[in-house]
Subunit: 177 residues, 2 copies
DNA sequence: TATTGTTATACTCTATAACTATA
DNA sequence: TATAGTTATAGAGTATAACAATA
């Protein structure tokens, strides 16, 4: 049967017992079957939900577009910020990107192992001054052109006017937030 | 020193060697110090980046607002869709929410263990017909009012006009995607 | 044979705490 | 004492593959 005896244990402290299933009369849903149109009004009237869906589309399209370079959104952000702010520290980068200083290390390690950036010495010897390598700059230039294709697809999706409205309306989220 | 001998091993197949650091002349960045304004133009001109930042704000504010009910965005989405489509299957729900049928099980288990929904029998005995419990409906009603507060804060953030533009422009992401 | 729910497993992203070196 | 980078660890979210029950 579809309902097994042993259920998945929740990921927190103690195992949470998950009760079995009841029996209840079917609704128009089950009767209609054939993947009847699922009502989503309750969600699509929320701007937050639409923003989330848009973001999922953006990441999916970004990843597809940048796949030839094996660059994901977060990595692209890091490369751009380092290019535009050569010598900034990991702390500064992590603050700007809104992640913890420990969380930024794995992606930086990967980018460095791919020879796209380097950690150079700074006057404050506790810090690393981040810089793109020549190879990193070249790859980023290529990535920029692919990102423009991605941005164009987004524009195709929402229209030139809608695209401009997004830039205007969402500008408030660009700085700090 | 800040640079250790042993570096973090990348998470994929083989360990990737991470090279050491170079030494290079400091830029205006290090000299200026005092957290100089980091340039973000390269990112903030991309609608995709702004959408991502907006989404991070939305989730953060949503989580703060719904904290008293311990409901996260994905859980709220599930409860709303199940309320509006009583009896739908896990497959239908996972397709609508854009996640795999295995990935939807942990959150459903948790909601069921909290007695907010139930898996009832359906005519097709391979499937579960999802339904909210009375408790689930009550909690969702409470959640709805909190979500409206959250939506109001978003409107405060982008303005009533901007909010309406978001609903209009992002509508295309609401269905399928 | 195909589909639904489940389990096992794994990868990514992110966070906190503790440690080292530097300030 | 405080800060930057690192390590260890853990949790949440997601995915794929294989399996049993059912169609």
């Amino acid at each position: 049967m579809a309902n097994q005896t042993k259920r998945r244990v929740a990921r927190m402290p103690g195992p949470k017992a998950v009760p079995g299933r009841d029996i209840e009369a079917p609704t128009a849903h089950e009767i209609g079957k054939r993947r009847p149109e699922v009502r989503l009004d309750g969600l699509t009237s929320l701007a937050g939900y639409l923003i989330r869906q848009a973001q999922l589309w953006v990441f999916a399209d970004f990843n597809t577009t940048l796949a030839p370079l094996d660059i994901r959104p977060a990595q692209y952000s890091m490369l751009v910020v380092i290019r535009d702010n050569p010598g900034l520290s990991q702390m500064a980068l992590s603050e700007v990107l809104g992640i913890s200083r420990s969380g930024i290390i794995p992606p930086l390690d990967e980018l460095q192992s791919r020879k796209l950036l380097k950690r150079t010495a700074a006057s404050d010897r506790r810090t690393h001054a981040l810089r793109l390598t020549t190879e990193g700059k070249a790859l980023l230039a290529h990535a920029d052109s692919l990102v423009q294709q991605h941005e164009q697809r987004l524009m195709d999706k929402v229209g030139a006017r809608g695209h401009q409205q997004l830039l205007n309306v969402l500008e408030v989220f660009g700085r700090d937030s």
